[in-house]
């Protein structure tokens, strides 16, 4: 039974030591440790929640992006078509304009050529006339150089003149 009787001294010191340990650890160990554990747990929970939210948002953004892409593709096609039309129109217009212009130039050129040809022809005629007059003069001068020739010629002329 000796073993079952508690000693006062041991009880006393145990109580003091236990209470000291309790208060010191309570203040300097358990409080920060439990706080850190709580923080970590809430931090992890927060992170998971944030990740979930982000995932959802990402999904939303993805679908939105796809929609935008589709829209953009449609717009691009429309723009391309429009551009093609405009191009065709411009080309056609340009072609027509070029044709008329070319025709006009062609006509002008022809007219000018005609004019110049006529002028040249007139000049050549004049020249030829002059040349013929000169040559006739020279020939006359030579044929009528002598008095006899002049007389014969005058006779001829006089014979031609038929005095009715």
């Amino acid at each position: 039974m000796d073993l079952l009787t508690p000693e006062f001294g041991l009880f006393f010191w145990t109580l003091i030591a236990f209470l000291c340990v309790f208060f010191i650890l309570g203040k300097f160990a358990w409080k920060p440790i439990l706080k850190a554990l709580g923080e970590r747990e809430s931090g992890i929970a927060d992170s998971i929640a944030t990740a979930d939210r982000l995932k959802k948002e990402m999904g939303q953004m993805k679908s939105e992006n796809e929609k935008l892409m589709m829209q953009a593709r449609e717009e691009r096609t429309a723009m391309l078509n429009e551009a093609k039309e405009i191009k065709d129109r411009i080309v056609n217009e340009a072609k027509n304009q070029a044709k008329t212009e070319a025709n006009k130039i062609f006509a002008d050129a022809q007219q000018q050529i005609q004019q110049q040809k006529m002028a040249a022809l007139t000049e050549v005629k004049n020249e030829i006339g002059n040349l013929a007059v000169e040559m006739a003069e020279k020939i006359l001068r030579k044929q009528l150089a002598t008095d006899e020739a002049q007389n014969s010629y005058m006779n001829q002329l006089a014979s031609d003149i038929k005095l009715n």
């Binding site: 001294g9 041991l10 236990f18 650890l25 309570g26 358990w30």
Partner: protein, 376 residues
Amino acid sequence: MMCKRVFSLFLLALSLLAGNAAFAQQEELPGAKQAKEGFNATEVIFGHIADSHEWHLFDLNGKPVAMPLPVIIYKPGAGLEMFSSAHFEEWEKMEDGKTKRSGSYNGYHLEKNMKEKLIADDGSKIYDISITKNILSMLISVVLLLWLMMSVAKKYQTKGSLTAPSGMQNAMESVIIFMRDEVAKPNLGHKYKKYMPLILTVFFFIWINNMLGLLPGGANFTGNIAVTLCLSVVAFIVMIVNANKHFWSHLLNPPGVPLGIKFLLVPIEIISLFIKPVALTIRLFANMLAGHIVILSVISMIFIFGFLSKVAGIGFVPVSLVFAIFMFFLELLVAAIQAFIFANLTAVFIGQAIEDIHHHHENGQEYNVTNEEIVA
């Protein structure tokens, strides 16, 4: 758990039988005892498990090698006195043949039977608050515990709460989380945070002391009833102080119970209230004491058989060692399990005292059921 306790009781019984056998042997051969001092297993075992005013390490050439510890005495009216336990010398047997008495110093002497007691020579009332072996062991454990937990706490502060724990911090964290999630939360409900420091301190204080007690030459601190009584008194006070109105009303005036039964039930309830700390006290004390006794008994068997015959002693060495090693492993487990049980029961008792109204209705129904059963 139950199975294990039955097993250790069985071992205890076995070892006590062995001890008695040795004792009987000595009594049968008084002549031989005179010539050759026999091995007294009881004295050795109780010398190891009992508290002492010196820290006995080993015997060298028949002389004990021990560390003297300070003796502190408070004598009402005379104040405090303090001196070294080395002054208590010249042990001699008293008339009854079992008790040993040391020489007097300063008007005090030690008497050692199963326990060592400090007694004033003139028989006056004194309070012995010496730093005994158990207390020194406890102080070492306190220093260890403080250092360990503070360093863990510091790590949390330096590394921040969101980095993964490492090393000792990791080891302690898993234990702390276990205590929080498996002990505090289920038993204490949403108010668990308030009691976490108590439960953690109780658990680690008991655990580290259990472990230190297992070291060779260590003190049997948690296997001492003064210690377990102190811890359960603390738990009991916390329970009583925090008990709510519903706890008291259900204790002193159980609802839905006829008056006649109340006279029977209320005393039982009050007794059960006081049995709780007693159960706590005895459970830890008996478990740790039994474990120490079993290990020491198993080791003592070598010497008991050795004194019978040298061959028997040597032949018993392997058996004893295997058994002792097995017991050591078991005790390592028990050290943690008993600390856990103490903390868990503390939480359970506090939890009962602070239970919410909601739960009390269920209790009321239980009372009704028992009432009907009694009537039936």
